[in-house]
Amino acid sequence: MKAADFSYHEAVNLQDAINIKAQDDEAVILAGGQSLLPALNMRLSSPTCLIDISKISGLNEIKIEEHTLFIGALATHSDVMSNKTVKDNMPYMIDILKMVAHPAIRNKGTHGGSIAYGDPAAELPALAVATNAEIIVSGQNGDRSINAKDFYLGLFETTINQDEIVVGIKYPLLKQGQNIVFDEVCRRHGDYAMAGLIANVMGSKNDIKDLKLVFFATGDKPDVADKTAELYLDNGYDYDKLKNSLSSEIDFAGDLNSSSEMKLHLATVLIKKVLSKLEI
């Protein structure tokens, strides 16, 4: 299929993009386009106007800023993966991004795009929630910072306003003894997962002091399972108990490749798989 007609506007700067977006309800931001273009090509989305922000300079910066790693919205997944600051300060980010689609998609797909799109099956929104990241958005009233856990409301739904654009994400740097471990189960390499888990752990394998579990591809947004994490801290890995807990804590939504029952099972075994990756 071919996309329906739309007008195309190459934004000259951030303010330009914000202004157009504020004026046109149906205008859509185009960054890397790796999720938007398929929707356009299949006429699942027919916006009146695309605002291309990809040429705006300065939005792809990656830097350390007040104990956080800031990743500019327009940094592509490939940019992030090959960035030395990321490698030195947040090496797990590179391994997570290896699970995102395929190289040619990562060359074009942007960090901010993935965060803003809010696909419940995507890795980065879950990572942002797991790491307590701040999402920086810019709008007519200036910038605001939204904690990732408050950013995602539901299926492809975020707190971002019509006039706002994600400009960057601030990931807190890991403290001494803090680890990010993760895994996902896919039918095929690079596919969206049947279920995935990112765990933010304080402590070592045999001595976990604090634990945050964030699942993806399980429900309608990144699913935080605090009660289940607590249960794990109290009892260790008990499949039945953890499964029960997850079942009450997360509203599992089945898809073509895995039923909700399957997702619940995979989420449970992922706790074991992921935490076994911690060093002793």
Binding site: D5, F6, Q34, L37, N107
Partner: protein, 158 residues
């Protein structure tokens, strides 16, 4: 219905200049390139899942069905028709030697993916090669011959 929106842009394809051309706003780059005779860029799904349309944009592999022609403004593009340097000639010889294609429809995208693998200059295992090409669909070969060809290219370069 109103006339279709269009955009005025410039870029190069395999060194050939396209200056101040008018493209429909909604046209993806693959369709534009094909309309200009670069028919080596193939379309298999128009959603980025098959890899057949993969081309080089400013030195990086991209899905040309997931880039609007208008987004290519100011870029340098390379399509399979322009893969004629020494390295790519070697790659083609290895593809031929291993019969790393049958119908040839996936080949332009597969060659672009191979090019990017080789430019990264990493020594890869067969599994890693499989991972790198796992976004390029080939219905004919079953992939083994493609992995063979890429493995030989990597060995020659490293």
């Amino acid at each position: 219905m109103a006339a279709n929106n269009s955009v005025n842009i410039s870029f190069t394809v395999n060194g050939e200049r396209f200056n101040n051309i008018n493209v429909p706003s909604r046209q993806h780059l693959a369709d534009y390139l094909r309309s200009q005779g670069f028919t080596g860029t193939h379309l298999g799904c128009e959603q980025g899942a098959c890899g057949a349309c993969t081309i080089e944009m400013d030195g990086k592999a991209v899905r040309s069905c997931l880039v609007l022609a208008s987004q290519a403004n100011g870029t340098n593009l390379k399509t399979v028709e322009g893969f004629d340097d020494e390295m790519m000639e070697k790659v083609k010889q290895n593809f031929l030697k291993h019969n790393a294609f049958q119908c040839g429809f996936c080949s332009p995208g597969m060659l672009m993916t191979t090019k990017e693998i080789l430019l990264n200059k990493k020594k890869l295992t067969r599994d890693e090669i499989r991972s790198e090409i796992s976004g390029n669909y080939c219905r004919c070969t079953g992939y083994q011959s493609i992995v063979d060809a890429i493995e030989e290219c990597i060995n020659e370069i490293n």
